[in-house]
Amino acid sequence: MSEVSAAESAKPAGEDAPAGFAVTLEHFSGPFEVLLNLIGKRELDITEIALAAVTDEFIAYIKELRTRVGNKALDETTQFLVVAATLLDLKAARLVPSGEVESEEDIALLEARDLLFARLLQYKAFKAVAAEINRRYVSEGGRYPRQVSLEPEFAALLPELVWKTGIADFAAIAEKALAPKPMPATEVGLGHLHAPAVSVREQAAVIAELLRAAFEAADGAGSSLSFAELTADADSTLMVVARFLALLEMYRDKVVDFDQADPLGDLQVRWTGDEETWSADRLQEEYDDVGPGPAEKEAAATQDEETEES
């Protein structure tokens, strides 16, 4: 409740904000920091309302960032874009009159929102302890450890150095030590990819079976199924998309026919049976990389778990 009033009272200020909005790259330390600053500036708690309220400013920040640093910042900008996309989703959801619908998209949005909350709160916690670490780091910097060289009398007691390295070996060691050492690439995080892999080829096989069954049931009379019927058992948006792509492929192979009575009306799909030997295996390989492979999926799942547990 308090958040609502805070958001509303902050609204006029928000409308004025773009004029006086300044990007200070010196303080730039990632999307979460910017987001926290924007929320803090409005004196809001971290809530869905706060996130929706600062979306425009956040997008403005990204635009400003691009003009300031150009393509060099692509790496950083992508991180901002992931956050911006989620923010836009949240804001869009608030603009649309809220119905009772519990659709796939609603659930995906809820998940994205929760993930953003969790990550933002986690970041805020680390920012707080970083301040404590800094306090200790600065205050302990005034204490100097005794670290003096050994008195000659004691240094003389050290066992005589065993030196077995020849000149050539020594040069080889130098070559190795002086060679540039690029840091191994950071593994790419897939935590923000929630979509499970859906194979167009697999979905084509499912559709083909449905259409053939309808074709045979009607005894060759050409009974059709609507797109809605074909996707009734699809459990994700991606699967619906995959089935649509599969239909296009099948149309190209001339095994299905479409009929749409009026614009945006029901799409009727019919098995033409022109090619008895058609099989989904004929579909091009280009769809094979659509989703992450099983191994990557596992990695992404592990990363999700980690993020959540922390």
Binding site: V129, I133, Y137, E140, R143, Y144, T186, S310
Partner: protein
């Protein structure tokens, strides 16, 4: 003046361990208790030449006494540095003399060292994530901070605050942890002395609470 105090303390601690002490230390052929100032002064003498924090167990080995006896004496020495310009502290599992913080403006004139160099906000946040999540990969730190941390991690490694700690068994990515120098620079006995993260980090229940407001 301190000879008096030292002798008193020695008498009280050496009593239960008199058998161990009666024999001279195996290598040196000398019993430290026969020297002026005894074990306490002996510890002070060794601490004068160390260039890193020394665990009590190592000192105990040198003097041929128990670690508990050494600990007792070290604590007594630390207490006696009250009012002096230096102090004896146990940091990162070892003991070492430090100059007192009050005199930093003067000491810094004599010591050529980068220890006053500040850490950037990015470096501090990254260091915090490593400290609380170690051993940890750069990928996971980047996920928490929302930005690539490669360059910051290189700086922290060069400054000796973090180090590599093997590879992650599943992903093969490099793992990182904080160093003993990190503990020393923060004046911590161990990593567990860091303030708890949880008060700053709402748990799942609190996240649910936030959700309930909509």
């Amino acid at each position: 003046m301190s000879t008096q105090a030292s002798t008193g303390a020695r008498a009280s601690t050496s009593a239960p361990a008199s058998t161990a002490r009666s024999a001279a230390s195996p290598d040196t052929g000398v019993d430290v208790e026969e020297l002026p100032g005894g074990l306490r002064a002996g510890l002070e003498a060794v601490l004068m030449v160390v260039d890193e924090a020394v665990p009590a167990a190592q000192l105990a080995r040198v003097f041929g006494v128990s670690a508990a006896e050494v600990e007792t004496e070290l604590e007594a020495i630390a207490e006696a540095t009250e009012g002096h310009g230096y102090e004896l502290r146990e940091i990162g599992g070892g003991w070492r003399y430090y100059s007192r913080r009050d005199f930093a403006p003067f000491v810094s004139r004599f010591v050529v060292d980068g220890q006053t160099a500040r850490l950037t906000q990015a470096a501090l946040e990254t260091l915090a994530v490593v400290a609380y999540r170690q051993p940890v990969t750069r990928g996971r730190i980047a996920a928490i901070r929302g930005v690539n941390v490669d360059s910051v991690m290189r700086t922290l490694t060069l400054r000796g605050l973090v180090e590599e700690a093997g590879t992650d068994p599943t992903s093969g990515a490099l793992l990182y942890r904080t160093t003993s120098y990190f503990l020393e620079r923060l004046g911590l006995g161990s990593i567990s002395e860091l303030p708890k993260l949880s008060p700053h980090l709402p748990g799942v229940d609190e996240l649910d609470g936030l959700d309930g407001e909509f």
